[in-house]
Amino acid sequence: MSYFNIAIECASQDVLREIQSERLRDIVKRNYENVPLYRQKLDELGIKPEDIKTIDDIVKLPFTYKQDLRDTYPFGLMAVPREDLVRIHASSGTTGKQTVVAYTQNDIDVWSECAARSIVGAGGSKDDFVHVSYGYGLFTGGLGLHYGAECLGATAIPVSSGNTDRQIQIMQDYGSDILCCTPSYAMYIGETVREKGIDPTTLKVRAGIFGAEPWTQEMRREIEKSLAIKAYDIYGLSEIAGPGVASECEEQDGMHINEDYFYPEIIDPDTGERLPDGEFGELVFTCIGKEALPLIRYRTRDICSITHEKCKCGRTLARMSKTRGRTDDMLIIRGINVFPSQIESVLLELGMDPNYQIIVDRKNNLDTLEVQVEINEKIFSDTIRSLEEVEQKIAAALQSTLSIAARVRLLEPKSIERSMGKAKRVIDKRAQ
């Protein structure tokens, strides 16, 4: 069993608490001094930075919501001057407005170390070729694992996503040892390997690090079989850092949270009260080790549970379960965040009525998105060609807003079931 940073990963609770307390004091002070929104939030609660002495005082602090990032778009929550930033990432948000995050050099180093710990947790070492098939760009997936591999001293292969034949060719020719991508793409690569008649045991790849979307144990078994590898889950979100906030070790029994940098809490999403270990609730993170965006008690809206029991692997870092849905309506489709409200605003802009339904499914191991929308007389016309043009126009607008392809289907008026309460907009068949 090996570790990237044994002093932290196997530290005693006392040592960890000491680090967490010191870092919490630091970020509360820096946020109070540099970020107007945090000064306002703390002042409203009558809390001064001096009131925060140990990590246990964290419960006195206010929550941060995704809306706070939107309200201060793009850089309003930064706790450092602009010239100290070395990197920007962003994730899609509702109504087309992105959530922008930024990093100092130290933040990149922290994140890279966390991703390096994840690769080692999955049995990787500096001798490995790390094949990164996450998308590179504003999305944190590609660059996150890429820098993690380099930080470890391994060899990053920045393939990015897409072109499955080339992915397999590179795996064969270069001898990729570890594959990193979304689990649905891993399934698809596995299937393509089989279709090509390639025996997966002839591929050198022995482990996969998969995340950015929820997946099940059944998918894990299928991926492990189709690629003859061990498949590890990794968790992250751009607001906190990116992939590597938490990840599985070889025990595959929960994801170790890098809690020296990202302090986790589980709360009741309705009351905000903290919940004990083992109970499911909303995951909340405080970025105690970050400079540019040291968010305090950020509500991830992901539902999971945490345990502090020592793992068989020797690590003492707390472990989170797989996420079990969300407290909001965000969908994760092919690793991309999609809000029904984004789809709604596209439809309204094109003169459609807000009577629509979103069908998410998984076909040939790839997530599919279908948007069904009721036709109205404003857009109805007499020829098939012009109706198909309407469908294509909506599909193109959705693609440009969501960055993923959607199939559009026109329905008759009143064919979508009307609800008395909250409309049932989303049918996610992946979960069934």
């Binding site: 007389e377 109805f380 016309s381 007499d382 020829t383 098939i384 109706l387 026109l410 329905l411 008759e412």
Partner: protein
């Protein structure tokens, strides 16, 4: 003069055609000609009726998406070559047909074609100068 055709959006699911025609029956609307264009998801039902405005009202009341479209009714002899002659006239005048359908008259020896052309007025002119008989809308409604 062009006549009014009903165009109705129909989702491809069992029973829809029955519901549309039942709504027309209840409004005492008589169907003269009918045609369907379809894709895998939806279709457009095109109907010529005796009372187009009443039919539209009845269908809208029943929640259907319906519009009125101008089409041309051409009367031809029911014999080999008559149809070819009519569409050749349009082709020679560079008039495109968006869609068409045909039905045979109760009067022996006559057939009718319903044509939706990209330029309806030009199509009428071309057909008339080629010697085809353009029907007055009322003739079809009262048929």
């Amino acid at each position: 003069m062009q006549l009014k055709q009903l165009s109705i959006f129909v989702e491809n699911k069992a029973g829809r055609l029955a519901e549309i025609t039942e709504a027309l029956a209840k409004a005492n609307v008589d169907i003269r000609a009918i045609s369907v264009a379809d894709t895998s998801d939806f279709g457009i039902l095109r109907v010529i009726v005796d009372k187009p405005n009443e039919a539209v009202t009845a269908l809208r009341e029943n929640g259907f998406t319906v519009s009125l479209t101008d089409v041309i009714a051409v009367g031809i002899d029911d014999k080999p070559g008559a149809f070819a002659y009519a569409v050749r006239t349009l082709a020679d005048n560079s008039i495109a047909i968006e869609y068409m359908y045909a039905f045979i008259s109760r009067d022996k020896g006559k057939a009718y074609i319903i044509i939706r052309a990209d330029d309806g007025e030009a199509a009428i002119k071309a057909l008339e100068s080629g010697g085809s008989a353009i029907l007055n809308p009322q003739e079809i409604y009262d048929m």
